[in-house]
């Protein structure tokens, strides 16, 4: 099969299937590439409806009616009533109730099975959409954003703070204790030049660590 006939086959005879594939790809792309969580969920719904559309379209039969019995096949319709009346007047055929349809009439009705499958899928789809939106609201409450990149940044920063802080806190407490001791010694008046030299580098270090840490939450 050469390229031209392939394209014409797809675009002219099976345009519907092409559009389903395009819708599916739009949904898939949105789920992968969009950073906003609500956009991702809309993409998920588009993906879902594309699949439902495909299922419904394979249930279509040419020149077929909807999957509800016409009046002449309806078990409780006027026709059934008539045949019941005929029964009482002594007609031998159709002795009781409705009859199974012939294969010829079966062709006149659309296929009900995909409709049933998709009907429940839609309702379950909205329930899961609601659940996902609840999770989105919770994320927004916790982090103040629903953009994925900002969210990852915030998570990274929170991780950093959580992993670094116990060490720094311990060191700082130690240094503060030492500084207090020195200050007390100084206040007592027993200040010697030797101790001053020793204390100098130590005193700068707590300050610098505090300075390093201070701007971090503001980032």
């Amino acid at each position: 099969m050469d390229g031209g006939s392939l394209v014409s086959e797809l675009l002219i005879e099976r345009l519907n299937y092409c559009i389903y594939v395009i819708l599916l790809l739009i949904g898939l792309w949105a789920m992968l590439a969009k950073r906003n969580l609500v956009k991702k969920l809309i993409g998920m719904s588009i993906f879902q409806t594309a699949i439902i559309l495909f299922y419904v379209s394979i249930a279509v039969k040419k020149d077929a009616t909807i999957p509800i019995y016409l009046a002449e096949h309806d078990p409780h319709g006027s026709h059934a009533q008539e045949s019941a009346d005929q029964n009482t007047t002594g007609n031998q055929e159709s002795s009781q109730g409705p009859v199974a349809l012939q294969p010829e009439t079966v062709k006149g009705y659309a296929n009900p099975l995909p409709h049933v499958l998709m009907l429940t899928a839609i309702v379950v789809g909205v329930a899961t959409l609601g659940l996902a939106l609840a999770l989105t609201q919770r994320i927004y409450q916790g982090y103040g954003t629903i953009e994925e990149d900002e969210l990852l940044d915030k998570l990274d920063r929170a991780d950093e703070r959580a992993s670094v802080s116990p060490l720094i806190r311990e060191k700082r407490n130690e240094q503060r204790r030492e500084a207090n001791q020195r200050a007390r010694a100084r206040a007592a008046g027993g200040l010697v030049a030797k101790g001053k030299q020793k204390a100098q580098p130590k005193r700068t270090s707590p300050r610098s660590s505090v300075d390093e840490e201070k701007p971090e939450p503001k980032k």
């Binding site: 519907n16 739009i26 809309i42 909205v126």
Partner: protein, 82 residues
């Protein structure tokens, strides 16, 4: 023939609605355009003979899911970065 033209027209509109609802930066607009998408889908299914599915989509997809999306966007930031 008329039905086929109708079918093709709705299908193209569907693609437009799907792209628009993902394109716009305002999430409220996005939610409402998604409701439009659902109604177009419902129209297409009714045309295909799936009346029950169309009815469900009209009530659930276009009704409840749009309302739920709008209710969520109300509590979030309306603007989206992409």
């Amino acid at each position: 023939m008329g039905l086929e033209i109708f079918n093709t027209f709705i299908l193209l509109l569907l693609v437009v609605a799907a792209v628009t609802s993902l394109w716009v930066k305002d999430l409220l607009v996005s939610a409402v355009v998604f409701g439009v998408y659902s109604f177009l889908m419902c129209l297409l299914w009714a045309e295909m003979g799936a009346v029950d599915v169309a009815f469900t989509e009209a009530t659930v997809g276009a009704g409840i899911s749009t309302v739920v999306l709008v209710a969520t966007v109300f509590h979030l930031r309306r603007k989206s970065n992409d």
